[in-house]
Symmetry: C2
Subunit: 345 residues, 2 copies
């Protein structure tokens, strides 16, 4: 199916565009009453993720309602550790929880990196196919996975954490085990992303939510090394890397085999451009809290951000997932402002 | 009382030292069985904070047991919002919780910045006096307070948070109210720190735990502006500023009227030195997870860090509070390594 709007792919590849593309992290769900209606008809978050027809439905909602330039498949980064053998629960108001964790070589036997992706993650691939069928090429569909370091964080810690000190501990007590685990996650992630692309994902994003808790050296060794393997392996579609909080590693991320570098809301676009260079597209980074201000202020702050862009290599987004209590009308103002912004020639 | 060991004060002021001083954030409590014994004899954390004799006792424990070069008064940054009118509870395994929050001009009436510090925070001042009496000048005593931005975060959010989006929201919806609240907190904090100094604190540290969730511009406006007022007001003793996660603001922090700049574990010492300049002392920043490795490795990694220091303007610490499950023997190895390290002339 030919795409009617390929702006985001063109911006990612550094091709000419006539306006900046825009989408939101966590746009599928969270803010829309239409999403909550679907969600409340099911037992919970996991049932929604695992039911392809409904996952496709909420994936398309923001395209219909908000007018974004890309859809992102409704799923979770934790489907990968689950497919590898660690089942998770998503506890309301608390977040993810794993009954078993990997903190020793013995526990490493609980997981596997040799299985058929179709067999264990077929529901995501099916959701991608349904989404594309129902999108009729209106916008591209983004596939995604967690970065190996972030997935390790959850596999070792077993739950969310402010410091992930159990996960970071492993880097000192048994770095060889950490590398083995990261290699296994990397292998599965490459297969999983390739399967998403085969199923129809037009671009992919790697989320490294816990990049910022490591120093520059450790992040190079336990984070970027594995993202680099993934970026090298994915040649089919544009790749975006979003390493949250990794301000001091932006220069290194810009050297990876990726098209786009994602920015936090607290990273400075001008400084980041200096570190990343001109050969990559930047994605971001309006503070999601901006959307709590008045419509006029949302417009002003969005324009202020767009005015800092010095090239066409930008994909507009927030610098974090959209917060659940944001008024969808404010999101529409944000999107409309980007679409109406006149691009310098 | 004359101090027998004033290393940390000399290092803060840039005077000559014959070895680097060393202490740990959260050293008073957390890791020591001796602390847990005191704690379990009381109803909980708050009773310990509010009972001067016992607070003094746990403040001195790390001096006796670990051999650190400074004591830090056992207390909590949240005693300030409580004194201003917002009572807090410390819920086991969950953290702080406030029944009332400040999100409107109406709610601002719940708090006051005009009260006698001795009246509402006398228990901290009493603990400082007892500690110094019992320390007999063995080491200096550090007083502290939260930075206004971090205190605002708790007053608005009412509890811990990964994003403090309610607090950040206020900066967009009612910046004038945010500034008013920050001014009130600043006024009380200056009086509180001066009272601590009068009671016997030999230096003070300002903790801005949530500095890193703001972009550089917003942190300058809502964070550093108020820290600067505090730093300007405290002339009696050396001042340390620890703005966690504020990597992009290190240059600005180095220009404040402070002696020492605290570093996270994921900040690079060489890069930070470039940003802060030579006229300030740096404090930090061994990754607390280092202390999970073997004694030999703790020694090696500590020496590796010390070798990056290019001047005597350093106070050695971890880059975060010591984690509760760390073996105190490893902490002793860390401290011993610093004490045995031969300083370049």
């Amino acid at each position: 199916m030919e795409l009617k709007n390929d702006l985001i792919l063109r911006a990612a590849k550094g091709e000419d565009i006539d306006r900046y593309p825009v989408w939101l992290m966590r746009q599928a769900g969270r803010i829309l009453p239409e999403y909550r209606a679907v969600r409340s008809s099911l037992s919970g978050f996991k049932e929604l993720v695992e039911t392809p027809e409904r996952a496709a439905e909420v994936t398309i909602q923001p395209v219909d309602i908000l007018g974004v330039d890309a859809a992102i498949i409704f799923s979770d980064i934790l489907v990968v550790p689950e497919a590898m053998g660690l089942e998770y629960q998503m506890i309301e108001q608390k977040g993810p929880w794993f009954e078993k964790t990997i903190r020793s070589r013995e526990e490493l036997k609980l997981i596997s990196d040799s299985f058929d992706i179709n067999d264990r993650l077929g529901y995501v691939l099916e959701a991608i196919k349904i989404t594309n069928r129902e999108l009729h090429g209106r916008v591209p569909l983004i596939g995604f996975a967690g970065a190996p370091w972030t997935i390790l964080c959850y596999m070792v810690e077993g739950k969310g954490s402010k410091t992930f000190s159990e996960s970071r501990k492993l880097l000192y007590t048994d770095p060889a085990l950490a590398h083995e685990l990261l290699s296994m996650i990397t292998k599965v992630t490459i297969q999983y992303l390739k399967a998403q692309i085969k199923a129809g994902a037009h671009m992919v994003q790697i989320f490294d939510s816990w990049a910022g808790i490591l120093g520059t050296e450790q992040y190079a060794e336990f984070g970027l090394k594995y993202i680099s393997l993934i970026a090298d392996a994915i040649k089919e579609v544009p790749v975006t890397i979003f390493s949250k909080g990794a301000i001091t590693s932006l220069g290194s991320i810009g050297k990876l085999n990726c098209n786009t570098v994602g920015l936090d809301w607290n990273m400075d676009i001008t400084e980041t451009r200096k570190m990343v260079g001109k050969s990559r597209t930047l994605q971001g980074n309006l503070d999601p809290c901006t959307l709590y201000s008045s419509h006029k202020e949302v417009e002003n702050l969005t324009i202020k951000m767009l005015d800092t862009f010095t090239s066409k290599r930008h994909i507009v987004n927030l610098g974090h997932g959209v917060y659940p209590d944001v008024d969808p009308e404010k999101v529409k103002t944000f999107i409309k402002t980007v679409k109406n912004y006149e691009l310098r020639k």
